[in-house]
């Protein structure tokens, strides 16, 4: 039993990312309102960013900025002292992609609203079927 608990606790960040991923996926599959779906899409994307950031953590590591000794002006760069910077770089890109997707999705939602005067998917489909 203790094994299971320590197993769960040792990776709790990974479980949380899965929960968030599933919240986003659920909203995108089930929700009826388009803006809700867009929010779900963003939660889905941030969950993956959380996963990547969790990869980069090192216990006893510090921020990924080289510390320069103020007196001597020298520095020691030992890899184990600093958090892994690569996933951070990748995730900056992913955040940018998510905001770009958000912009386009909202632009399309506004266009849809102009056309059908509603954001509910079932009402839109009802209007399409009527035509």
């Amino acid at each position: 039993m203790e094994d299971v608990i320590s197993f769960v606790i040792s990776k709790y960040n990974y479980w949380c990312y899965i929960v968030l991923l599933m919240i986003g996926l659920y909203a995108m599959i089930v929700k009826n309102n388009l803006v809700k779906k867009i929010i779900g899409m963003n939660i889905f994307q941030t969950a993956i960013i959380l996963f990547y950031v969790s990869i980069s953590v090192k216990k006893e590591g510090t921020l990924p900025t080289i510390i320069i000794d103020p007196v001597t002006g020298t520095h020691t760069a030992r890899a184990a002292d600093y958090i892994n910077p690569l996933p951070h770089v990748l995730m900056l890109t992913a955040i940018v992609v998510s905001v770009a997707t958000l912009g386009i999705a909202l632009a399309l939602a506004i266009k849809i609203y102009k056309e059908y005067d509603t954001l509910e998917e079932d009402e839109i489909f009802a209007q399409i079927r009527k035509k």
Partner: protein, 276 residues
Amino acid sequence: MKIIGLIAVFLCGCLLVYGASDFPGWGDPSSPASTHVSPYYIETTMEFTHVPNIVTSVLADYRGYDTMYETTVIFGAGIACFLLLRVVKKKDPVSRLYRHKATGITLRIKKGGKIPDKSNAFERIDSEWVPYDLIIQISCRLLVPLIQIFALYVIAHGHYSPGGGFQGGVILAASIILIAISYDLRSALKIMSERASAFLSAIGVFIYAGTGALCLLLGANFLDYAALDSLLGSGMVMARSHGILIVEIGVGIAVMAVMICLYYNLSSEGKQDEGL
């Protein structure tokens, strides 16, 4: 539908949990992710680029090619919003509202009606207009220069502290958006017109990709800033550092312009007439 969705999502989650059980322990310094490629960046960033912030040096130099496309993604989003939403035809709205500044009387000008003379006695107002709030407007006006100075600091100081072109650009855009919210869209458009924001977004990304192409013309590989040495004359390492600064400025300009462009188009449904 809801229950099916819930079950599907739950099963998917269980699968992912099962897949995640094999991960190396959280925060383990000896996991493959921390030992294979990334130590190289940590150990060589000062030697090759003279940039203490490893994230900046990896972002703009080691993997600068990704970042160029990241900026392009943002640029593409701005253009896409323009293409999707912008209403270019100058259709007059059914009626326009003008307010006499001295007396506060509001005039409704019907379609085709004549606009009051340009004596500055009248001002155009939105159809959903709330009376001016002195405190909000003055405090926002005071905040704007502070925000902009902070944004410039974030861009310029990205070598040494968290920050860089992207964050700085967003903060710069926030200062203009603040004006658009606290006054109205037209005041913001006077400061930064749509045309200017379109040009700036193209120029910003062009600075980035153009720096890369310049390196190509100087005989090195694409985006190899060390080639800029022959222009800057500051040694290979400092040339990389300066190259990073140049592209960060480009990113800042592009991101600022695109964020403003996005806000203009989304808040006015592409009419760029009445905002929030």
